[in-house]
């Protein structure tokens, strides 16, 4: 079972770099298509597509998406930073109280 788990995971990783060979003339077909754009093609730019384009041209939207997609990592980072700050404050407090007791 361990092997199967390993195979499955590695295979899914390798699959990211796999190309399914398209028909040989696909590039030419696409280039021909864009050379002969008609009204029906222009209709592909519907409201939904334009909305997608608008969103992808907005820094705020993209930043918001990045935050939402990495909320777990951000929460972890926040916790680490908070713990670090608490630790530093505690160290400072302890060293200052030690200094003051030494002075006494």
């Amino acid at each position: 079972m361990n092997n199967v788990n390993k195979y499955s995971k590695i295979a899914r990783n390798i699959a990211k770099n796999i190309v399914v060979k398209p028909p040989e003339d696909i590039e030419e077909k696409i280039i021909n298509k864009i050379s002969n754009i008609d009204d029906s093609d222009r209709k592909l730019l519907d409201e939904k597509f334009l909305d997608y384009l608008r969103k992808n041209n907005s820094r705020l939207y993209l930043l918001n998406e990045k935050i939402k997609n990495n909320s777990g990592k951000l929460a972890l980072l926040g916790s680490i930073v908070t713990l670090l700050v608490i630790f530093l404050i505690a160290v400072c407090y302890l060293s200052s109280s030690k200094n003051s007791s030494d002075n006494k």
């Binding site: 590695i10 770099n17 754009i37 992808n56």
Partner: protein, 197 residues
């Protein structure tokens, strides 16, 4: 024909340069983008749509959209990210249209006949660990033969690196359902692989 693939030093021209030239109406630059990304767009479309004809249609549609709208692309994300999202959106729209009319069932043999897999940029270490490329093909065939509710989220998550939230939004399903379906899809793959062993 003017070639943009390589500069004098043999360096590959950056996508940003090609996009910028395409925005100014340079058709040769756009054709180079087509050459560079047609395989990628076709592969993504094929995995989602499971049909060579539909994948070809989707690829043409994606590039027409890109061609008509490239002037409005500000380049805040990479061109590859942009075209990847566009391809996935186009394919999911096509799936929605198709599922209203029919639910395609394909056998593994049919898929293997239609799908010629080429390994690109294979990491050497991974190759050492995983010598049997046939196993990868088996995994791919299992993935492509999965039901739509399992296949699409799994492809988006494992092959396209989408977040669970993005997949839920795209497929219009609750995030919990998406996670469960991906978990089940992985389990099915493991079970079928165990059967092959």
């Amino acid at each position: 024909m003017r070639k943009l693939k390589e500069k004098k030093g043999g360096r590959v021209v950056d996508d940003r340069v090609l996009v910028s030239k395409s925005k100014k109406g340079d058709k040769v630059a756009f054709e180079e983008l087509v050459r560079r990304y047609s395989n990628y767009v076709y592969t993504t479309s094929f995995f989602i749509l499971r049909n060579t004809h539909d994948a070809e249609d989707a690829s043409q549609e994606v590039f027409v959209k890109v061609y008509l709208s490239i002037g409005g692309f500000r380049g805040l994300s990479s061109f590859k990210t942009w075209i990847r999202k566009l391809t996935v959106n186009t394919c999911i729209d096509k799936l929605r249209l198709r599922s209203k009319t029919s639910n395609q069932k394909l056998s593994l043999d049919e898929l293997t006949e239609n799908c010629e897999v080429v390994f690109t940029g294979l990491n050497r270490n991974l190759e050492k660990i995983f010598l049997d490329k046939e196993m990868v093909k088996k995994v791919l065939n299992i993935i492509v033969s999965l039901d739509e509710s399992y296949r699409v989220p799994l492809i988006l998550r494992d092959l396209q690196d989408y977040s669970y939230r993005e997949i839920a939004e795209l497929t219009k399903k609750p995030i919990g359902t998406v996670k469960t379906n991906i978990h089940r899809a992985r389990k099915i793959i493991k079970e079928k692989l165990r059967y092959y062993e």
